[in-house]
Symmetry: C2
Subunit: 117 residues, 2 copies
DNA sequence: CTGTATCCACAACGATACTG
DNA sequence: CAGTATCGTTGTGGATACAG
């Protein structure tokens, strides 16, 4: 169960739900990665590297590992030759949709370039 | 206007709304601070220090300064002797409600302690 | 009450190069 | 295609003490 795995993240945080959320997805690229997976379905490593503009291989690799460890995504080897993997959201990852989309919507509403008048 | 001030945060980010959002409120304590102000209205420095469990004076001070600089909160000196200030959300800060509450709700739904059965 | 001043620590990010 | 290996940098946070 997801609840069981996530128990650990609650400890010592005084049960503040905001803090626990930021602890889980508060790293620089996590929300963007999750967003791309939400919008475009399962993606390979290079697909993500293209979608997430500006990220390096190392940081993407690190981030994916962290997200997998926390139970938000799964990694599957789809093909052996050439090697091809697929990163996919778990149910827990999907459940972040409302958070990620809220961030996206806020950004779109407040950060678009000023209209020419 | 808010749009004008926020222009700067868009540049060079390839206009990804998620990235801009995380750039603005992605620091460790920002969402918690904003949440307390959303729920409890204007608060003094020590009120916040109490509400935001575990934060140090320095980090709270730094965070408030950053939030003010970005236009999410205002700081007013309410009383001179003893010194008393009031931190309050701007309209822009209030507009983050949906994001912050989404984080809170997700945290509450997924991180509560397992029920005894 | 509302901070500032130091000083330290370290996770996380970034750049570059290389591998099966 | 999907990473790993280095290695350098730094933003951010944490502890503690002190100040108007």
């Amino acid at each position: 169960m997801a609840d069981q795995r996530l128990e650990v993240w609650c400890a010592g945080k005084d049960w503040c739900p905001i803090t626990t959320t930021t602890t889980l997805i508060g790293r620089k690229w996590h929300p963007v990665i999750l967003h791309r997976l939400l919008e475009n379905g399962p993606l390979g490593f290079n697909d993500l590297k293209t979608e997430v503009d500006g990220i390096s291989s190392k940081v993407l690799s690190d981030s994916l590992e962290d997200l997998e460890e926390k139970g938000f995504i799964t990694r599957h080897v789809v093909n052996d030759k050439p090697v091809r993997v697929s990163y996919e959201l778990t149910d827990l990852g999907e459940s972040l949709e409302v958070v990620i989309f809220a961030m996206r919507d806020w950004g779109m509403e407040h950060l678009k370039p000023p209209e020419p008048t």
